[in-house]
């Protein structure tokens, strides 16, 4: 489904911060993949390279066998196939919940109907179905800023689902939520992968959640992949490597 080939990213020119070095990952269709790593490891950068919110410095990213490029037309089409869920939810606070979910449909239209904030009946049906999937349909007409954090994140998931995507990228979706709500949100994401066959990539920095939810884990440390395998194989030794690798070691293999 998604293939990353030798993706590297350096922020701020050639002498800048190296956020990713030579990352290669292959993700199968319908997989629920957790990318685990401490903060600053490059998890967000990895996701943002996939939908080109960040331009990778080198390497290729293939979606369904086709390369994702930054050419305007193709990029819009690729982004439509890739939903994204953020740590800070990033809902448009003054719009209603339904309008937020409908904004996931924007890539299916030109801007003319959007000028009047208009969507067709099918869009609305999809949006409400997506809201129902995360049990938020009863709040469809409230303003987004009246919701709690967990509810906002569920709406954000519905927005991503409304794109009818092939892939969902979840960038630390539970980092701003308390444990109970966090598990609820992760359960929704996992269901989505299982039932709808959508590939889900989920960034996490907490090991417990990764152990609990992931089928496969990619361990990222200082921009390099240090582990790739089933969550059962996350031994203390490997965790040590992901979380406490000292900078010298990074320089050695860099």
């Amino acid at each position: 489904m998604i293939t990353l080939e030798n993706v590297s990213k350096t922020y701020g020119g050639t002498s800048g911060i190296v956020a990713l070095r030579d990352v290669s990952i292959h993700v199968k269709e319908g997989e629920f993949l957790v990318i685990l790593g401490p903060s600053g490891a490059g998890k967000s950068t990895l996701m943002r390279c996939i939908n080109r919110l960040v331009e990778p410095t080198s390497g290729r990213i293939l979606l369904d066998g086709r390369e994702v490029t930054s050419r305007r037309r193709q990029l819009r089409a690729a982004r439509r196939d890739i939903g994204m869920v953020f740590q800070q939810f990033n809902l448009v606070k003054r719009l209603s919940v339904l309008m937020n979910v409908l904004s996931g449909r924007l890539a299916y239209h030109t801007f003319w109907p959007s000028l009047l904030y208009k969507f067709d009946q099918d869009d609305k049906r999809v949006a409400i179905e997506c809201l129902t999937r995360v049990n938020m349909e009863h709040k469809a007409f409230q303003r987004a800023d009246t919701l709690s954090g967990g509810e906002q994140q569920r709406v954000a998931i519905a927005r991503a689902l409304a794109q009818e995507p092939k892939v969902i990228l979840a960038d630390e979706p539970v980092a701003s939520l308390d444990p109970k709500i966090a598990r609820q949100v992760l359960t929704y994401l996992k269901q989505i992968a299982g039932e709808l066959g959508i590939t889900v990539l989920c960034n996490l920095h907490q090991v417990e959640y990764a152990r609990e939810y992931a089928e496969r884990v990619v361990g990222l440390s200082q921009g390099t992949v240090v582990f790739d395998g089933p969550s059962g194989k996350l031994t203390d030794d490997i965790l040590q490597q992901i979380y406490y690798r000292d900078p010298e070691a990074a320089d050695d293999d860099g």
Binding site: Q121, R125, I128, T132, E137, A140, F141
Partner: protein, 287 residues
């Protein structure tokens, strides 16, 4: 139990109703706004075609202004300096007047008028805030009247010249600055005030040590902003004979020396733009 399909259908229906309601509301307000705009447009003779027809006049005007007579800049030195001087003193006087006035114009620092055994009724009528209300009303008068109007009046009272301009700017800016600062003083953090009161400080001490320090950054920042605005105002005071660049502008215009008028406009633009730049840097440094 309802099925998923039913609840989706119900939500869709609800959405349609809400959308219709919103549409009606939008149409209502929209047509009201359009009616107001249409009516007022007719009353003031708004006519886009007149602009098109006037285009050749405008073009004529512009071509007669162009190119600006740059040698005239030498004669504008005095007027430019005078414009700056007017703004400096106008703002400075306003700052000085505003210090006491803004204290009087804030509910939490204004002197309260109390009458021993009559207090309850007195306060219910809000009369203990008499000083506050009178000050605010006075400030509203200063704010409500444009500095050019003041300039016009002062010119006819004390004669032509920059002195009238300074007074006009000072008076109007005092109104603006004091009202703004009065509100700023009313908005200070209660906690710090209470902490100071708890030490047993007198009312005057509380104002000096808890209220004023909190309001000072906003006061300085707004004073700088006011100086920026004053420069802009000072460039037109000359139209009514109160000194500065506006006087050169109107003079060259009346003598049909349009190339020189263009130079005046150019200098005004540069002056305002430079002041704006300096003031925004200065404010950033103060905050």
């Amino acid at each position: 139990m309802t099925t998923v399909d039913e609840s989706v259908a119900a939500a869709l229906q609800l959405e349609a109703i809400r959308r219709r309601r919103r549409l009606v509301k939008a149409l209502g307000w929209g047509s009201l706004a359009l009616a107001v705009l249409w009516f007022t447009a007719r009353e003031i003779g708004l006519n886009p075609f007149a602009l098109v027809q006037g285009a050749d006049h405008m073009w004529d005007f512009l071509t007669r202004m162009f190119p600006p007579d740059l040698s005239y800049i030498l004669f504008l030195g005095r007027a430019t300096v005078e414009t700056i001087q007017i703004a400096v003193w106008g703002t400075l006087l306003a700052v000085v007047f505003s210090i006491p006035l803004s204290l009087l114009a804030a509910r939490n620092t204004t002197p309260l008028i109390r009458i021993p055994w009559f207090n309850e009724h007195w306060e219910r009528l809000g009369l203990h805030l008499l000083v506050f209300h009178v000050t605010r009303m006075f400030l509203n008068v200063l704010r409500g009247i444009n500095e050019l109007i003041f300039a016009l009046i002062f010119v006819s009272a004390v004669g032509l010249g920059p002195f009238a301009g300074v007074l006009a700017i000072a008076v109007h800016a005092t109104g603006m600055l004091s009202k703004f600062c009065g509100e700023e003083i009313e908005g200070v953090d209660r906690g710090q005030v209470e902490a100071m009161q708890a030490t047993g400080a007198s009312k005057m001490q509380v104002i000096l040590f808890a209220v004023i320090p909190q309001a000072i950054p906003a006061f300085i920042s707004y004073s700088i902003f006011r100086f920026d605005v004053s420069i802009r105002s000072a460039t037109v005071l000359g139209l009514v004979g109160a000194g500065g660049l506006g006087f050169s502008l109107i003079k060259t215009l009346k003598l049909f020396r349009y190339h020189e008028t263009a130079t005046c406009i150019l200098v005004i633009f540069l002056l305002v733009w430079a002041t704006d730049w300096v003031c925004s840097k200065w404010r950033a440094k103060v905050i």
